[in-house]
């Protein structure tokens, strides 16, 4: 009796384990015994050389394509902050920019070096402007931008939060210091229309700036920062502001001003009429006007393409060096003379 009982049990366990073996338990067993099937790549010289070689071979064409894309972009950069100050004020530019009575208009003609295909993006570029300073970045209130006066807590906007006891919409230093130079372009006597719609991210316009929120009590204080806003246009349509409120990452940055939706031919001369209102003189920043086409890779920036090419080239070079070293002075694969117990006695 007892024998029977004992005899039947292992069989039971066996059948159980067989059925379990396929699935989870097998995995668990392998896992706990550190026996999971594994791929154990060993960096053999062949692998090393081919890795460097393959990476090099991939990188160089990518680099060439990128460089080509960047080179296809036509970009005109014109720095105007110094030029647009009339001769007598050049010694004290600050006085000029602060004096509202002096007209700030300024014009300049630019030559188009190459054919520029529409759309041509118009940017202003500021240097040494710390839009990324923490105090600046935090000086805004996203709730207020979306909900307007319904949202009261604007403490983060100080000191541009309240004026004359009333809240400011939009509050904060970013909005207060809105860029206010303007540009208009003429080819001959025809004005080149600058489309200033759709220059901000669509998601910003639709979801982050209120359609029912109108500027209120803005630029009403003793200190006037930058541009004023039309109180009759809702914030979601104030695209200048929306672009400006996307704070830049570095002290040198460009911001989209608008698009010229006509082609410009090579050797065309266009004239720029601009109002030089914005004060960059006090902190010795600079202002530039940028006209640029774009490629699938964005604007004009050779760095990416050059980096790819040089990395690719150096990888090919390393592959070659390794190949030569390996051919001239091969270390046999799995060579036992390199084992420590084989060379120890020789060295000591």
């Amino acid at each position: 009796m007892e024998m029977d009982g004992r005899g039947s049990r292992p069989a039971e366990i066996e059948t159980d384990s067989v059925s379990l073996q396929q699935g989870r338990s097998k995995f668990l067993y392998q896992f706990t015994q550190k026996n999971l099937p594994a791929c154990k790549p060993v960096l053999s010289p062949a692998w090393v050389i081919s890795i460097f070689f393959v990476v090099g071979v991939i990188f160089i064409p990518v680099g060439i394509v990128s460089l080509h894309a960047s080179q296809s972009v036509v970009e005109i950069v014109y720095r105007y902050d110094a030029e647009c100050v009339p001769e007598p004020f050049r010694i004290n530019k600050l006085a000029y920019i602060k004096d509202d009575s002096i007209p700030k208009n300024c014009s300049k003609s630019l030559k188009i070096p190459k054919h520029m295909k529409a759309p041509i993006y118009v940017y202003y570029q500021l240097d040494n402007y710390y839009q990324n300073h923490r105090r600046y970045v935090k000086s805004r209130n996203d709730h207020q931008l979306l909900h307007g006066l319904n949202y009261h807590d604007t403490s983060s906007c100080a000191p541009e939060d309240v004026n004359h006891g009333l809240p400011i919409v939009p509050c904060g230093l970013i909005a207060w210091s809105l860029f206010n130079d303007t540009y208009s372009f003429f080819r001959g006597i025809d004005e080149l229309k600058v489309n200033r719609k759709n220059i901000a991210w669509k998601s910003d316009r639709d979801h982050k700036f209120g359609k029912q929120v109108y500027p209120f009590n803005f630029q009403n204080g003793t200190l006037i920062g930058g541009a004023n806003l039309d109180p009759n246009i809702p914030l979601s349509d104030q695209e200048d502001l929306i672009v400006w409120m996307r704070t830049s990452a570095l002290p040198t940055f460009r911001k989209l001003y608008g698009r010229i939706e006509e082609d410009l031919d090579a050797d065309d001369t266009i004239s720029v009429e601009l109002l030089n209102n914005y004060n960059t003189y006090s902190f010795s920043g600079s202002k530039k006007l940028v006209l640029s086409t774009s490629s699938w890779l964005g604007g004009h920036n050779n760095f990416l393409g050059l980096a790819y090419i040089s990395i690719g080239a150096s990888f090919l070079f390393i592959a070659l060096v390794f190949l030569l070293l390996h051919v001239n002075n091969p270390r046999p694969y799995g060579d036992t003379t390199n084992l420590s117990w084989n060379w120890k006695p020789m060295s000591g």
Binding site: N132, P159, T247, A249, L256, F283, Y308
Partner: protein
Amino acid sequence: MIAAISPSLGHREKPEIEKHLRDLCSQTNKTKECWTIIKSELTRFNDTDYSAVTGVVIDLAIAKADQIHDELNRLFNGSTDDKLKYKYLSCSKNYNDANRNLVLVKRNFDSNDYRNIPVQIDDTIEELKSSILSVTPLSPFNPVSVIAPLVFVVGISMLKEAVEDWHRFLQDIKVNSRKVKVHIGNGLFMHKSWQSLLVGDIVKVTKNEYFPSDLLLLSSSYEDGLCYVETMNLDGETNLKPKRSLETTLRLDEDSEFIDFKATIHPPTRLQAPKHGVRIRCGDLHRTGYESGVRNSTRSPSKRSRVERKMDHVIYLLFGMMVLISLVSAVGSAYFTKSGSFKIWYLRFDDNVDDLFNPEDFMVSGLLQFVRALILYGYLIPISLYVSIEVVKVLQAMLINKDIAMYDESTGKSVEARTSNLNEELGQVEMILSDKTGTLTCNQMEFRKCSIEGISYGGEVTEVDLAASRRMNIDVERYRYSLDGSDSTGRSIEMFDLSTGDGSTEKDVLGMAGNSRISNARKESVVKGFNFRDGRLTDRMWIYRSNVSDMIMFFRVMGLCHTGIPVEENSKDKITYEAESPEEVAFLIAAQEFGFKFCQRTQSTMVLQELDPSSGLEVKREYKLLNLLEFSSSRKRMSVIVSDEDGEIFLFCKGADELADYGRTYQQATVLHLSNYAEDGLRTMVFAYKKIGVSEYEKWSSVFAKAKATIGPERDELLEDASEMIEKDLVLLGAVAVEDKLQKGVPECIDKLAQAGLKIWLLTGDKKETAVNIGFACSLLRHDMEQLHLCSIKESLSFQQMKDVKEEIMSQLQRYKQMMISDENRKDAPFALVVDGKALELSMSSYDVRNQFLSVAMNCDVVICCRVSPKQKALITRRVKEYSGKTILAIGDGANDVGMIQEADIGVGISGMEGMQILYFVYKNIAFGLTLFYYNIFTGFSGQDLYDDWYMVMFNVVLTSLPVISLGVLEQDVSSDICLKFPALYQEGQRNISFTWKRIIGWILNGILASLSVFTLNIYILTPSSFDENGHVADIEHIGTITYTSIIWTVNSQIALIISHFTWISHFLIWGSILCWYVFLYAYGLLPPAYSENVFHIFTDQIGPAPIYWIATLLVVVVSLFPHFLHVVIQRSFFPMDDHIIQEMKYSGTDVDDTPTWLREQEKSKQLTQVGYSARVDAKIRHLKEQLHRKRKSFYLSVTNSPIYKTVTRRDITTIHD
């Protein structure tokens, strides 16, 4: 009434407690406060209840937390600002959590691990503080994103501690609730748990039971109130110690007799009180008493692995780095603010609304900036490191527990890693301190061989001889093949033959010891303790031998000269025995097998059932026991004097090897056999006898009786003299050898350990002879070793004597040292140090002797310490650890080893990339954290962060922490079977090559390079021109997200470069982490803008569609990984390490295709060791070769000197000349 036994023996000394508590306090912030409170508490808790004191410490911590909380409360309640109040609320919630955790900790630790608590509390407070700090306007982050990971980290570690404590708690309960039978009145005995025993209880303990306390023996089931106890758990001695009850309580045999039992005990009397933890081996006991105290008084030490301790230093380094860049940031910011005031009009510094940017008070704002920078750059400190390491260790411990190779089939138990703290240390052990009984041996004696009248029985050839001869044959063959190596065609065939042959012999050599013993044991399993096979003696064949009368004497000595008691067992006619030592039991069993069954002992008689050779019948003979001369360490023998039925008086004597001097014709043979047995690790005993004339006996008897009756210090000496008087002119009969049975696999294991370069010390409570025997048995000792003995003969010494002995030891040590230095041929004459407990105590007592001792000991190949108490075991461990700075592994099974185990660095072995995880953490946090710093340089050091708060949270918690676990748990450079074949690979771990400062700095540099390339490349690629086709330029969020993507790719790919063993789990974790980042980014962007803010739709609408995002990521990742990859490639190609080569060999199939090479390397990788089975075989081979050489030489000489040879050669020469 039964009165109390004297109070506990093991009371902790007061200074020790105080020291412990002071340590405890020094770990808290307010040391002084803590100490004053604890001191006042101590008076309350007189019984040194640690949990109570711990409670005080925790209360302190809670009080401190409360204080901080109250301060904040005041601060925030005074404010009318809603936002501040909201922040306060969230902070307060955090405080409550922490407080609850504190209380939880208190509860958890109430019974147990008091050591960890203060640290834990401090951590909690620190975290609480840092959380509070973070929610103030100082913080660069949003409060929830700071608190969430902290809660996570603290939660996980608390959970782990709680679970481990719970297990310990359950264990405690289990021990405390063991049952014992207790007298409850009216002669009734009931089961009661250990913890409810009180002083004065009468308990009844049966055979082989442990008992819970000090006991007073009242009576035993043996007539004369005798019982044997084993004290292994107290002092490591495995022999049984007899205890006798008082005459007056002897009659208390029946339960019912306790109805009216009353006793008063006067403590000063010397009581036979077996101690707690002792196992009764014989009979029932009724006894009283509780309040024992032989607990281990060593403090449970902080067990942190060497890697962990170094990790702390790395953290300090990172902290230093963090403080440095914070300082730079603070100064930079103050300067920027000061110089930008009035100029940078759009920042409005001069409005002074923000304390952080106040140009007028730039000291204050600089200080605040510093604090803020510390919080921001906190990412340099890998907070999740500790959590990841905990998780890795728990998983490792799980893998260790589940390892089928460490599963014992006979007990059905698998290995149990009690703590996961020290896993990685296992790869770095350099020294093993091992207990003997229960660890190396099974505490089971077997009768193996005997030598009677110069003839050895029970097998001649030893295993070492066999292995040596086999190995020599292989060597000869191998030599021949290597000579033929030039002939490639012939070679391959021959090599094949060799390889098959070689493989099996290899197995034989290593498996030999274990296998032969197992097979023997299986065949002979009928009789436990008798492993003797010799057709000449067994099955009563001895009666046909010529010298039957001497044989009978031999067996009589075996059957009569002992102190054992027969225990009748119902089954069969065999009898089992109880005796002071397992050897005696083995002798008695052997005697029984030879036909001399010892079957009865009374106070004055012994009955032996003898086989009568002439009739072939079994005859019962009664011997009168006249005297028993007990064993003493100076005489090294014991004798019985009996008179047989004819009235003839015999002295039967057994003793140490010196007895053999009494031999006549066969003395030489016996001595040779003795040394052979000893070489084999067998314990030997010499038998002799003597016939005494009646008158001589009577003369001596009176002297002896007088000596016995003497009371006073000279008694022992008189007894000794009397014994020696009669124990002379003995007749040598022969010798016997018993084997202290080794645990399965011990010699092989020691062999492997020795080859891996580990040193092995044996610490045992047993006497010197036993310890040395075991040393031989497990090949720790060899006969050609230089044995240095440090022993003190006398047990107790006066002060002056102690001083003398100490000086002697010192001079002895100096001599040894001189010997070691001057001996040129150290390879051939390895040193072994044998030291006994007393000498050890003296050697450890003062600084200079100790140093001398340790320096000698470290230079020895083997150290054996015998007769050491548990406390000394612990002490040696500590001193050796301090002196050598090496990682020490202690092995032991009994309670007497606890101190030693606690002192040692660790407790069993897996391979791992020790510290690699930590290095990786350092790398990834530097790569990430420094980009924050670089970015700050471009923001006028204003403390602006480049990444979204939630990215930062995700970094340590989710996106980069999981692959590390696969590195820690799954990584193998070579598989475990290869590790076993190449023990030398282990030395990489000992040298700790993966976690040297060179490597740490290397990885820090790698992190710096990665951070630099990630940051600068992204900046150059993405600014200032537009980054997509629609003319949009990148702002902070875009650059931050793209840079962050590069970092996630870089650090996760980096781990893929480190790993060399990819299972699907590693793939899943690494690539899954990267995928997880994209999923997170996508999901985060879908949240309404109120939550996602600037990240809203960033992936779907803005950067996702821009090709530059993807192209840039590829470039940045390749460039950031390049330095490390190049380094690895160069190292592998030009400076490969052992494991690389073996990986390659394995990968290219050397082990299968070119087995000779594979085996040759295995052979070579074995270190030339002086210890272990292989070493013994080597020594034997050397010895045999020498003999062979000598033989050849003599043969050659005999040939060349012979006249025939001379004439032949001369003729040869002349023919040539012709």
